[in-house]
């Protein structure tokens, strides 16, 4: 138990360092910087654009299906991880078992793929029609 805990102690040290690093950065910045806000300074910065509205916009519902499929394969990785640690000691039986496991799930991936759940939403640009140029060279050649 102590051994496992001390291994996670390393993780805890990283966690603490991350917290201290970020908090220390904010703290020193707060102590060092002058505070002279004005409306232009405090406005949301966006390069070349006037920021309009809230950043919390409605997402496309397509992301939801992709996230759901991601979770399924996330759980699959969790199942396969213990197998991967001992797979060399277990030999071909474990390999076949894992292939069957992954194969069944790949069926699901194929299903989602065929049904078009993985198709990204493409913009459908409407090309504005060019006004007819009667004296244009290209149109006269095509005619």
């Amino acid at each position: 138990m102590d051994q496992t805990l001390s291994e996670f102690g390393n993780v805890f040290v990283f966690f603490l360092l991350g917290v201290v690093f970020v908090a220390g950065g904010y703290l020193t910045a707060r102590m060092l910087r002058p505070s002279r806000p004005n409306p232009v300074k405090t406005s949301t910065y966006e390069c070349g654009e006037e920021a309009v509205g809230s950043a919390w916009v409605k997402f496309n519902i397509r992301f939801y299906v992709v996230a759901l499929i991601f979770i399924i394969f996330d759980v699959e990785v969790v199942f396969l991880f213990p197998w991967a640690t001992v797979f060399r000691q277990l030999g071909s039986f474990a390999l076949v078992e894992a292939l069957v496991f992954a194969g069944i799930l790949i069926l699901g991936l194929v299903y989602a793929w065929v049904k078009g759940d993985l198709d990204w939403v493409r913009p459908t640009p409407s090309v504005p029609k060019m006004p007819e140029m009667p004296a244009s060279k290209s149109t006269s050649q095509r005619d």
Partner: protein, 173 residues
Amino acid sequence: MSNPTYTAIFYLFAAITVFSAAFVVFSRNVIYSAFSLLFTFFGIAALYVFLSADFIAVTQVVVYVGGILVLLLFGVMFTNNIMDTDLKTDVLHAIPGTFLFLGILAALLFTFYTTNGWMPSDTQLQGSVVERIGFETMSRYVLPFEMASILLLAALIGAAFLARYDNGGTNEH
């Protein structure tokens, strides 16, 4: 757990878990609730580490923080007027709620104080349990392992079927 450093770290993570969970419940803004849930999940993962369940802890981070929380944030972001909506219910059953709270608290405390010991394990586990889980899934629990994949397949197909955005049959192309 006699080491005071471990105890201090344990209470730190317990406090993070409890306070962030309370914030999830009490926050009026659903986005802040969702982000606070991140700390709850991380705190619970740390508590799993203290139970020597390192695999469960990593699973908690991978699945809940990496998957479920992202899904939840997506779900929040699909809704309209996220920032404006003031989450407040008009249905407040204060008196029955208090009785329910006190009853559950009493039951938990009663069990806590009347249980004779916590049945500590005879053998101390050394090192990681991940390899042991790997051996067990490949020997004694092979069939449940494969059944889990079928369960996941059913979940995938069901989820994709239910959540599919059908905009007038364009999926058929």
